[in-house]
């Protein structure tokens, strides 16, 4: 093999190796940082480790909101199953009973310890997966 060609093959191999390892690093960190979105029914079926951050979507059950000091707790339901959520902080302006909510947090002892509570900036917002069930 002539030296120029040899050099070229080496540089191509180097670039390939470099980009493959770069892309696999990116994909690896993507995979370990995904937030899975569940409804209460789906969540109860799965076996979620308690250190995995998840997203829970559903409706806030009527009459379930309880407050104690700055802590708020409420029940998120998909009208089949329900889960209690505990959150320390201010809930968003559009948070209210019988309205859609998305909770980001950890699933432990059949409860959600929330890091973030989101309500959409749209009064007609429904969490995905629920709009179909509500119509029927």
């Amino acid at each position: 093999m002539n030296p120029i060609r040899k050099k070229r093959i080496y540089s191509i191999l180097f670039v390939l190796l470099f980009s493959v390892s770069g892309i696999s690093l990116i994909l690896y960190s993507l995979n370990s940082n995904l937030d899975y979105f569940f409804t209460p029914t789906e969540l109860k079926k799965q076996n979620i480790p308690s250190d995995k951050r998840i997203k829970l979507g559903g409706m806030v059950l009527k009459g379930s909101v309880e407050r104690e000091a700055s802590e708020i707790s409420f029940v998120v339901t998909d009208y089949e199953n329900s889960l209690r959520v505990i959150y320390d902080g201010i809930v968003p302006d559009l948070f209210k009973e019988e309205s859609g909510v998305v909770v980001l947090g950890f699933y432990r002892d059949d409860m959600i310890y929330a890091e973030e509570v989101l309500a959409k900036h749209d009064e007609n917002y429904m969490p995905p997966n629920l709009d179909i069930k509500n119509d029927s």
Binding site: G22, S29, D88, H121
Partner: protein, 628 residues
């Protein structure tokens, strides 16, 4: 009906742009043809701008027989917001987008005097893109639709969250940035069509690209600032899909400007520069698609309409496929130039481009992966801040270290690494000392933050030395590059400090009672209900006192607007040079106490200042005589 005149003028402009496009690309170039193209394009632009001006006038004069104006404006609004209501929703935004697109083309059209052939084709390509967007506007999202027979009296109301000066300016600035990259894109294509490698299209469009980049930078910064004080979440960046689709063109544009300077200086990376110019514009269009189609759930999503999404996707597909095939077909016109010397400025900029490419790839993955995943596995997922932090922090740190060494590099000459020359060792040593001091003072061992701080400081110190050298030793310093990179260092330092020191807490507090948070004493003085013309509000007043005995009032509000029953939070912010005290008020509890959220945000203004400084660096380049 005046609106019909406006509608007709837009149709007329579409026709003229179509003529320009077909003439430019189908006929043999001649002085006569290029003169014709220039004139026809200018007429098309004048018709379009007339159409838009009439539309603005209709909005100012509350002509609610126009459906779009009726549902997005209100007779009670001040004139400023009547105008900005035009871009508060989909149809008007698209209209403005198109007007800006044609405006860039028009300025290019009248300022470029030589390079006739390149110019004709460029104008032709811009015109065809305009035709595509105008058809999209007129067919799927017509802003000229009227309500017959009876127009509503007062109109609707624009979303109160959007009635804000920063937000009225944010979309136009961003659009100006997005569509500004049509100039390098169209020029690159016209260069490829032309097939003459001797044409220096790169130096022709350098300032155009920087101008668009300035608008994009300012637009993104304004959006971040607005979200901070208006939405009441605090924070400056949420890795929301819509923020990400604005970040991707910015990253690509920044990479493009770097690679462009290599192509101008030493004719290297020319193929790569063309590819980047196509990428920047495609990413801008991709952003438009993501936002307009409503395919991704986000706080920014506008009305969803599958027809619009489909049309845009098809149109973007055509643009990308045709430009890429042209690129592949004409690739060979650019002769491979001499190889890049190791550790020359060119090689450092190539490394920079690899970093930018990887960052764009990661953001793209984060935006599209949920869509792909749901399609494949029927499971909804989302990609949040942890992923982006895991990617951005190490990459930006590495990029900064490369950049630090690149400061001493020269064009077409290999850099000799002298680790012990004064500027390098001085800045490294002082950065290490500063970082250790910070770690000691703030009692932290958070490695990610400390290393980021170190990376920020080496850049800042290195440039401080460089700037002093240029003042006292008259050593030449490229002002554009120096300010922009100094601003990057400052940005990294501000972001690191912000995430290291900022804190927040929800307190519940009764009226006339004290609470304490960090070094602040908070006294709940008063709460009252206010009635305003278009909203009720609850306004609380707190008196805060810090350790130095300085007192100030903060009055967060909660508003309920009549027209939509929408509830909004008005934050109260006390601004100090190094930190913000940020308060929002929540609900009242059964025992009569109120929940308030208090945040102390460090150096958050410095983040926007650094971004603004980058934009300023761009302006320095715009007004400098010399090419970089």
């Amino acid at each position: 009906m005046i609106v019909e005149v406006s509608h007709f003028l837009s149709l007329l402009a579409t026709g003229l742009f179509f003529l320009v496009g077909s003439f430019a690309l189908l006929t043999k170039p001649s002085a006569y043809i290029s003169n014709l193209i220039t004139r026809t394009y200018s007429h098309g632009f004048l018709f379009l701008i007339a159409s838009f001006s009439i539309y603005v006038w209709l909005a100012i004069t509350d002509n609610f027989s126009v459906q779009y104006i009726a549902s997005h404006s209100n007779s009670q609004l001040p004139t400023f917001y009547k105008i900005s209501s035009i871009w508060s929703a989909h149809e008007g935004s698209m209209f403005l987008w198109i007007v800006f697109l044609s405006l860039w083309g028009f300025i290019f059209n009248i300022t470029i005097k030589n390079e006739q052939i390149l110019k004709s084709n460029t104008i032709g390509i811009i015109s065809l893109i305009l035709v595509g967007f105008l058809l999209f506007l007129l067919i799927t999202s017509n802003p000229f639709q009227t309500i017959l027979p009876i127009a509503p009296l007062n109109g609707a109301d624009i979303n109160p969250v959007l009635q804000d000066p920063a937000l009225a300016i944010h979309p136009p600035t961003l659009y100006l940035g997005y569509v500004g990259f049509v100039i390098p894109f169209a020029c690159a294509l016209s260069f490829l069509i032309n097939g003459d490698p001797g044409i220096k299209w790169e130096s022709l469009i350098q300032k155009w690209s920087v101008a668009a980049w300035i608008f994009l930078t300012i637009g993104i910064t304004l959006g971040s600032w607005w979200a901070y004080y208006e939405l009441g979440w605090g924070g400056y960046w949420f890795w929301d899909p819509v923020e990400n689709v604005a970040l991707m063109p910015w990253l690509a544009a920044t990479a493009f400007i770097h690679s462009l300077s290599v192509s101008i200086k030493s004719s290297n990376l020319r193929i790569w520069t063309i590819l980047l110019s196509i990428s920047v514009f495609s990413l801008s269009l991709f952003g438009a698609f993501i936002v307009r189609s409503g395919i991704i759930d986000s706080v920014h999503s506008f009305a969803n309409d599958p027809e619009r999404g489909l049309y845009l996707l098809a149109f973007i597909g055509i643009i990308i496929v045709s430009s890429m095939s042209l690129f592949v077909a004409k690739l060979s016109i650019i002769k491979p130039s001499k190889t890049i010397k190791r550790f020359s400025k060119e090689s450092f900029i190539s490394i920079n481009n690899i970093f930018f490419g990887a960052l764009i790839f990661s953001v793209m993955l984060g935006v599209t992966y949920p869509l792909i995943y749901e399609f494949l596995f029927d499971q909804k997922i989302s990609v949040g801040a942890p992923f982006y932090n895991a990617i951005f922090i190490p990459m930006v740190i590495l990029a900064c270290i490369f950049m630090f060494f690149s400061i001493d590099s020269k064009w077409s000459r290999s850099l000799n690494f002298h680790f012990f020359i004064a500027p390098i060792s001085l800045s490294v040593i002082s950065s290490i000392i500063t970082t250790l001091l910070i770690s000691y003072i703030f009692d932290t061992s958070n490695l990610a933050i400390l290393i980021s701080l170190f990376a920020g400081f080496i850049v800042v110190y290195r440039y401080v030395i460089e700037i002093m050298n240029s003042f006292f030793m008259k050593k030449y310093l490229n002002p554009f590059s120096a300010i922009a990179h100094f601003a990057l260092g400052l940005l990294i330092i501000s972001i690191s400090f912000n995430s290291l020191l900022s804190s927040e807490r929800a307190l519940n507090i009764k009226i006339n009672e004290f609470e304490e948070y960090k070094d602040l004493k908070i006294f709940f003085k008063d709460i009252k209900v206010l009635k305003n013309s278009n909203h009720d509000s609850i306004e609380a007043t707190f008196v805060l006192e810090n350790q130095k005995g300085r007192t100030f009032d903060l009055s967060p509000e909660k508003r309920r607007y009549f027209t939509r029953g929408q509830i909004t939070t008005e934050t109260a912010i006390f601004i100090m040079p190094l930190k913000d005290i940020y308060m929002t008020i929540g609900d009242q509890l059964d025992d009569g106490s109120w929940i308030v959220n208090i945040q102390i945000n460090y150096l958050i203004r410095w983040i926007w200042f650094s971004a603004g400084l980058m934009a300023f660096a761009g302006m320095v380049l715009m007004f400098s005589k010399r090419n970089i």
